[in-house]
Subunit: 208 residues, 2 copies
């Protein structure tokens, strides 16, 4: 939303002097209240100013980026998540790497029978181990993966914003999307959320 | 921006019947034009409706998410880029992998003297080669990197949105940020823009 010059001046007056009445604002600008009415309506409707009877107008503290914030927080992990690519902990490092290439993902999720989360394995974990001269055909991923409860997870109903914050804070490329099973016997994997999902969402939000 | 019920009704009328005059809209709602004036002002100022003399009001095709779009397109690569982590093409695959771990990045940029772009090298490229049983202490990165002119790049003045679109379209994790040198002798590397930068920006945009 673009403010006109007059609206910007009004906003500035209210920021400095608010609470201030419509009468006083009109005085400052040597205009009538009637002339200002559409401007005041726009400024209050847009949430930039708030009005209280017998007090006057005051600055809401909100700004245009508030609209953006609200939007970003309203999108859920469930709206953007991808399918999880899983292996078991007995899978060899070599087979895990092959799976990573075939599926073209940067993170594998390690599960036990029933799809319950055991750990995660990143491209970085695999590269570290292949550099180390280990027998990658025999070494199982269970030895090198990040194991529960040290895995950072996210739930379907969480906001994508919260997931993005976890990706940055914990310095990981992807999070398993999980659901705690009804009988509390484990954490069930239902998806995967990566920096790629965030980047794709960013592109979609900016598309017309 | 929240519309009032009356404004939503007006928007709906103009969407269906526009171009339509203020007189006709007032008729439909059995109200005077004067009563509608603040509403019409809000709807046109916010960019939802446009008005043309002797034609009337019509729907601009913009919607509230336009505000979000404009914001996303206004942020430049230069505002969020990171420093480039570079190696030369003679660097061994092993040394490149070590650099990647020490600097904790997923993409290395390969440059020649003067900081001119020669290629890029991803964690995926390195993992593929370490799985292949090559002599990674001797093999130079020049053999396995993606070489110019096949490298997708971005410039400082480009929008982050455009960079994000390149990341998704070309399925890469990071782009070298470049500047074409004045004498056209090469493409100078001035930064790095990755999915991590996009994710971090996403977090910042949603913060109060």
């Amino acid at each position: 939303m673009e403010l006109t010059k007059r609206q910007a001046v009004i906003l500035d007056i209210v920021k400095r002097e608010g609470p201030i009445t419509g009468e006083q604002i009109a005085d400052r600008l040597s205009l009538t209240r009637a002339t200002l009415r559409p401007d005041m309506a726009i400024l209050t409707m847009s949430g930039l100013l708030e009005a209280r009877p017998r007090v006057g107008y005051y600055h809401s503290g909100k700004n245009p980026s508030r609209i953006l914030m609200d939007k970003l927080h309203s999108i859920k992990v469930g709206d953007v998540k991808s399918v999880p690519i899983v292996v078991t902990e007995k899978c060899s490092v070599y087979d895990a790497a092959v799976t990573m290439f075939i599926e073209d993902v940067g993170t594998l999720i390690v599960v036990r029978e029933g799809g319950f989360l055991e750990g995660v394995l990143s491209r970085k974990d695999l590269l570290k181990i292949t550099l180390g001269g280990h027998d990658i055909y025999k070494l199982p991923v269970g030895v090198i993966m990040t194991r529960m409860p040290n895995v950072v997870t996210v739930e379907t109903e969480e906001s994508v914003w919260s997931a993005a914050k976890k990706l940055i804070t914990h310095e990981v490329d992807a999070l398993p999307v999980v659901r705690v099973s009804d009988d509390n016997s484990g954490v069930e994997v239902v998806g995967r959320l990566s920096k790629t999902n965030i980047t794709r969402l960013f592109v979609e939000l900016g598309e017309s």
